[in-house]
Amino acid sequence: MVTLDLAQIPVRDANEALRAAAARGEDIEIVNPDARHHLGVGLVAPVTVKIRGSAGYFCAGLSHGARFEIESNVGWGVGDSLYAGSVVVGGNASAIAGVALRGGEIVIKGNTGSRAGQVMKAGTLLCCGNASFLAGYMMYGGRIIILGDSGERVGEDMSGGAIYVGGKVQSFGADAKLGEMTPEEDADIRAFLNKYGIAFEGEFQKIVNAGTKLRYGVNEPIARPLPYTVAEGTYWNAKVAEDIHAKAMIGRYRIRGYGAAKTVPHFNDIALKIDPERIQAASDALASVNLKTKLGDRSGAKPLELSMPVLIAPMSYGALSKSTKIALARASKLAGVVENTGEGGMLPEQRAEAGQLIYQCLSGRLGWNIHDMLKADCLEIYISQGAKPGLGGQLMAKKVTKELAAVRGIPEGIDLRSPSRHPDIMGADDLVIKVEEFREATGYKKPISIKMGAGRVRDDIKIAYKDGFDFVQLDGMQGSTGAASTEVLENMGIPTLAAIQEALDGLKEIDAGDDMPIVFMGGVKDGVDAVKALALGASAVAMGTAALIAGGCISCMQCHVGNCVVGIATQDPEHEERYKIDVQAKAIARYLEAVRWQIATLTKALGYTDFRQLSRKDLVALTPEAAAITGLPYDPDYFPVEHLLTEVA
């Protein structure tokens, strides 16, 4: 038994000592805990941890196999994403006890706060006292046992699992109903109570999902998009008519893949001050221009090492087929860049193929677990994305297969609509604590980034900076997705150019210097776009759709249907078979090499030896809009030869 005194050492040291002791198989006692946050997070050894007093936020979070005993109370998020093991709390638990529980057992002897078991997937959460409102909010599986009363809207939008209430139920949540209780279930609950020595004689009411909201009622008719040019010129055009007709059939917003389809100010509206004729095929720029860069060492973590300032944008296994994720991972390794898991959790094949992998944590905590966190090279908190900021992920039932549901820890065959916000991030201060939890759980070794869609970027970026993120991935409204409301795609968020401008402005306003890199994405299609973004001030760019197109996507924008004709945006085995991993991985890798060639050649043609030397001086705006947004000089008649002449003179 090792005793750690939190009156003597900080939490970070305590957690390190805890891990060291656990690795030796020793049990641990923590004294003077003083309700500190993150106690025991990320512990993955079957030892016993006794906390003599109260713990703060996320106690025992992200752990696997340990037995936690907390004498007194816990703060919110006890047992966050617990994989296996047990947590016994002698007193009360604050909000979101057992949030995103993936297995194991949590026993709260006292009362629990609101939203107990939010987005839990498996395991048992027992509350011996009363539970506050929204217990079982959006739970996907597992069971919650409440011996006392449950507050308002219990089981709100749960899609799986069961809630057993021994006391009074104040009200049912949306899409929750009373279910049939079998004697076996009852016996099983009582056995569980006996195991923890808890006496209870009363009867249970069982609350389950009513199944009225798991699927969209009406399927949208499949229609290939009309050319975008149809919408130009006439106000009441065929595209508008088609849209209204479709809505008149289905009675709800429409869904499609890809990003904003309308024309918005973009990279094409700014020009590099370079003579196209200087772009020589026989360029030796690759050898003479430095493109290497690092991301993520702002707080001392091991940074991502990039062979060029390009990343693969986050895209989920789910939106994309497993084969596509493998091809992207392989290509990213070949090109020496970084792959990203997106929302759907980490695939073992993807981890094996990718050289460096960013692991995304989303609101639904789908597929989120400590083991994959430890395998990742960087952790990323997703707040929103350019295609649908303000909304959670959407994955239509056709794609929610058995295998995919297992990786994500959710029921099969539902129209999955992820929550729009994290259960434990209500604002900037919560975010700080969340970042801290991840750092504690992984020993401060991994960079932690934030992914945001572009909204009030000037303000949002300051919070990201102050919350200590190692870098930011910022996504303009042209960023694509596998499925989103068409109206949100076209109308929510600002263009990538504007996002770059606001982000840099915002950081300048707080004199942030350049210690927090920003990766921009949203319609970056090649090395030319990349160079423009870098010259505007991006630290790197990420490419998603362009990489998919290089790997065979034909831009039919039917990603949401799930029958992807080329086997990319599908989970149907017959369609996935059409995607040849090796062929497409090589195609994507070749495309990335072409991008590298372009960045190097353009950098050299502008007279530089390092991409960091690119600056706004290398750019002019070709439209009044691009000039207004970026503040670049407006020069629609910019003619490169004149520039060369002045340069020579």
Binding site: Q280, A281, L622
Partner: protein
């Protein structure tokens, strides 16, 4: 369908248009067939239009439907997914549907000059059509008794019935009355080159390569050896000789395939073997033909070369050696060497040598035009050693495919026409790429439908030379056409446009290197026009700012966002009223009236809808027109306005347009109006006023400014009319200060109307469906409006504010007073 039916007009090349990208199938086709368009037209059942697209570049449309080697199919992008689109078989379906006697309108000659063309094969016919369609007279001389060249004489009937060839030629002749066909007129016999040069302005030699090459080994001129072309010519001439039991075909090309399958169909034959000197990966025959031969029982032996032929037991022994393959040579084909000690005999009764063809003409040789077994021809202008004598086809460049011969026919015609028209240095010929801009097939199964070959009939002993392949039925043709990706069409995304997609594809190609990267980069750096279209600012130039870190998002799937609306005491379920329908058919108007009531909204119009059980806001031009039954009267303000006396409980309001805004608001304030409708269209009160097009959005911020200046912002609710299409448009107007909006044309479209020259046409609308459809649309629009509010962190649509918006254009910024995205303030 405005394409001129004349393929050699290079100005018809549309590949450089901003939204046109010739798809891979079209690029792979030597004659640039507009495949995507005709496949789209087949899906749509428009066969005459499909034939127009095919025949514009291909006079042998019927023939190609049967036997084209279809280089388009391996190029098809779907080939790497679940199989190429069956382009050739679909082409066949077009003429099978239209019938053999289908004819195109004639194009009569209108010019005096004359051209002589020798050889009515694919190259000669193609050139003849091009030249005739340009208005010139053509004398087309054919050595044989029937036209068609190799298409007729070289391809056996089971693959290509002879009447298909004849139909195509008849179609060309009826379309081009300027072509005079002279049969049984071989060059050097009835027709002399010198005379033709006297009587015609140009001569085109397209005599083909109909002499079979010999094997080039000892004994290759023996009695049991025949060359492939001669063999096929005789079979196609109607001969059905009894052959020995065992026949060996030497060669691996399409002639070998036709010969082996023809031999198999002849009496006496029990076994047919094809011996090819390279391996299965090198064999030049089309996979389709090879499969068919194998399916019919032909045995293929690879890596075998004959070294001598010897008579043996009344038959022949082929002395063979095995071959070993080496590295690819200059022609891209792998070299082979004979393996010492691998000798063996292949015994048979007949050897068919299908190892290539040559062109033979004593007449041309006498004129010094021959270069070995070909006519000396410059690829740069298809000219020969004699001025104004041109050559094309197999005779000029060696044996090739049908479609290559047609390409040469087009190319030769181009230079012949240049010569006729006195153009000394015509631009180098290139295959023009054109499009008919056919809409994409809206087939819900397009991603799923599997490729289906045309039914293979194989060898039928009761009719051995009957067709070996059948046509699709209509349903199969429709489904197969639906499979086309339509790589030719613009995508639905301005950002990932067809050009952007193709540029990425190009960078990712296996053969792409620095030269291609440089070209792509230069193209991307080239100057481009400002994409903004002329006109007023529209809703599309406004976006919302989502909540992220600085504001908390509302869960739009689950949390309630209120949309109930109160307009001067009038309670509505959503901030969306309905207008229009006054001229709609009675049944539609009645259905709309029920829906307006059921959805808890109100109706705006001059007259109430029949049986309307919901609030009616009457539009009037003068106080005297006010109807006491109306829940509100809305006066269209012209100049000085006096609001009508209202009955108790009746609301009084005004309609203001851009022209009347100041006067209207002054009046509204003075008379204490209950509400004001801002008419961005300027036509509210006329039928389907929304059809005026993009509304003047600046009206709303102007109104808000005037009221704010007067300190009267809350004096009355503002209702927006003009251009509302979706809930997002509505949400933008709510954010700018409106309390509700009115849908006019959008509601008409939802109820089943179609936009016609003078309003909405409900002829095709179903009155039963009109109500539910409108209700569904209103529900969708309201949910969209709520979704915008929730993404902005609002729980009530009426809480949207101007600060939730950004503009994307300077004109929108100026019109609306909303700062542009990326900027801190309006400069």
């Amino acid at each position: 369908m405005t394409c001129k039916p004349f393929s050699v007009d290079l100005s018809q090349d549309e590949s450089g248009l901003p939204h046109y990208q010739p798809p891979p199938c079209q690029v792979a086709c030597p004659i640039g067939t507009d495949v995507a368009s005709y496949v789209g037209l087949i899906w749509d059942g428009k066969m005459p239009e499909a034939l127009e697209a095919i025949t514009a570049t291909n006079p042998l449309s019927g023939v190609c439907g049967y036997v084209c080697d279809a280089p388009c199919e391996p190029a098809c992008r779907r080939a790497s997914s679940d199989g190429a689109v069956a382009i050739r078989a679909l082409k066949r379906h077009v003429l099978d549907k239209l019938g053999h006697d289908y004819r195109l309108a004639p194009v009569r000659p209108d010019k005096a000059k004359k051209v002589a063309i020798i050889g009515a094969g694919p190259a000669g016919l193609t050139a003849a059509q091009d030249i005739a369609l340009a208005g010139y007279h053509v004398d087309l001389y054919e050595a044989h008794s029937k036209p068609g060249g190799m298409a007729l004489w070289g391809i056996p009937d089971f693959r290509l019935p002879q009447d298909v060839v004849q139909d195509d030629i008849d179609r060309v002749l009826s379309r081009c009355p300027g072509i005079a066909l002279h049969l049984d007129s071989p060059l050097g016999d009835k027709v002399k080159l010198d005379e033709l040069r006297e009587t015609h302005d140009a001569v085109l030699l397209a005599i083909g390569a109909s002499g079979g090459k010999k094997l080039g080994v000892s004994g290759d001129d023996g009695a049991h050896v025949i060359d492939g072309v001669t063999f096929l010519n005789r079979i196609n001439g109607g001969e059905r000789p009894i052959l020995p039991k065992k026949v060996v075909v030497i060669g691996g090309g399409d002639v070998a395939m036709d010969a082996c399958r023809a031999a198999l169909r002849l009496p006496g034959v029990e076994k047919v073997i094809v011996a090819y000197r390279r391996g299965p990966d090198e064999i030049p025959a089309r996979a389709h033909e090879l499969q068919a031969a194998k399916a019919e029982g032909v045995e293929i032996l690879y890596n075998i070369a004959p070294v001598a032929l010897e008579d043996k037991n009344g038959g022949v022994a082929i002395k063979c050696k095995k071959t070993a393959l080496g590295a690819p040579g200059a022609d891209g084909r792998r070299a082979f060497s004979l393996v010492e000690g691998s000798d063996f005999d292949l015994d048979c009764g007949l050897v068919i040598a299908a190892v290539g063809q040559k062109s033979v003409s004593l007449e041309l040789a006498q004129h010094g035009l021959m270069d070995g077994d070909k006519i000396f021809t410059r690829a740069s202008d298809m000219g020969t050693r004699l001025p104004n004598v041109f050559a094309a086809g197999d005779a000029a460049f060696g044996s090739s495919t049908l479609v290559q011969a047609m390409f040469q026919g087009h190319k030769a015609a181009y230079y012949v026409l240049a010569a006729l028209e006195g153009v000394a240095h015509p631009a180098p010929y290139r295959t023009p790429y054109r499009t008919r801009n056919v809409p994409v097939a809206q087939d819900p199964l397009w991603e799923k439908l599997a490729p289906k070959h045309a039914p293979f009939l194989g060898l039928d002993n009761s009719d051995p030379f009957g067709p070996a392949e059948a046509d699709y039925d209509d349903k199969t043709a429709h489904e197969q056409a639906a499979r086309c990706y339509r790589c030719d069409t613009e995508t639905g995304s301005s950002d990932y446009s067809v050009k952007a997609r193709e540029s990425i594809f190009a960078l990712a190609r296996p053969e792409a290197g620095p030269v291609d990267f440089a070209a792509a980069t230069r193209a991307k750096l080239a100057k481009r026009p400002d994409p903004q279209l002329a006109g007023p600012a529209t809703f599309d130039e406004l976006v919302f700012l989502p909540a992220n870190l600085t504001r908390l998002v509302i869960d739009p799937y689950r949390e309630a966002c209120k949309s109930a609306t109160v307009l001067a005491g009038m309670k509505l379920a959503q901030p969306l009223l309905v207008a229009g329908f006054e001229d709609a058919p009675e049944t539609i108007a009645a259905a709309v009236a029920r829906t307006v009531a059921e959805t808890g909204t109100a109706y705006l119009g001059r007259r109430p809808l029949p049986g309307l059980g919901a609030p009616w806001l009457q539009i009037i031009d003068g106080a005297e027109a006010a109807d006491p039954y109306a829940n509100a009267v809305l006066l269209r303000v012209r100049e000085a306005a006096v609001l009508p006396e209202a009955r108790p409980g009746q609301l009084r309001g005004l309609i203001a347009t851009a022209a009347t805004l100041e006067a209207a608001l002054a009046c509204a304030l003075a008379e204490k109006a209950d509400l004001v409708v801002l008419d961005g269209s300027g036509h509210l009160g006329d039928a389907w006023a929304d059809l005026a097009g993009a509304p003047d959005l600046s009206l709303l911020p102007r109104a808000v400014d005037i009221l704010r200046a007067a300190g009267q912002e809350e004096a009355f609710p503002l209702v927006w009319f003009g251009g509302l299409r979706s809930g997002s448009d509505l949400a933008k107007m709510l954010a700018l200060g409106a309390n509700a909006g009115v849908v006019d044309v959008a509601s008409g479209l939802a109820a089943g109307g179609a936009i016609a020259p003078h309003g909405l046409d409900f002829a095709a609308a179903d009155a039963e469906e009109a109500g539910p459809r409108l209700a569904a649309y209103l529900k969708a629009a309201t949910s969209e409006c709520s979704m915008m509010a929730r993404c902005c962190g609002k729980t009530n649509v009426h809480n949207l504010e101007p600060e939730d918006l950004r503009t994307l254009s300077l004109r929108a910024q100026a019109a609306l007073g909303i700062v542009m995205a990326g900027r801190k303030k309006i400069a």
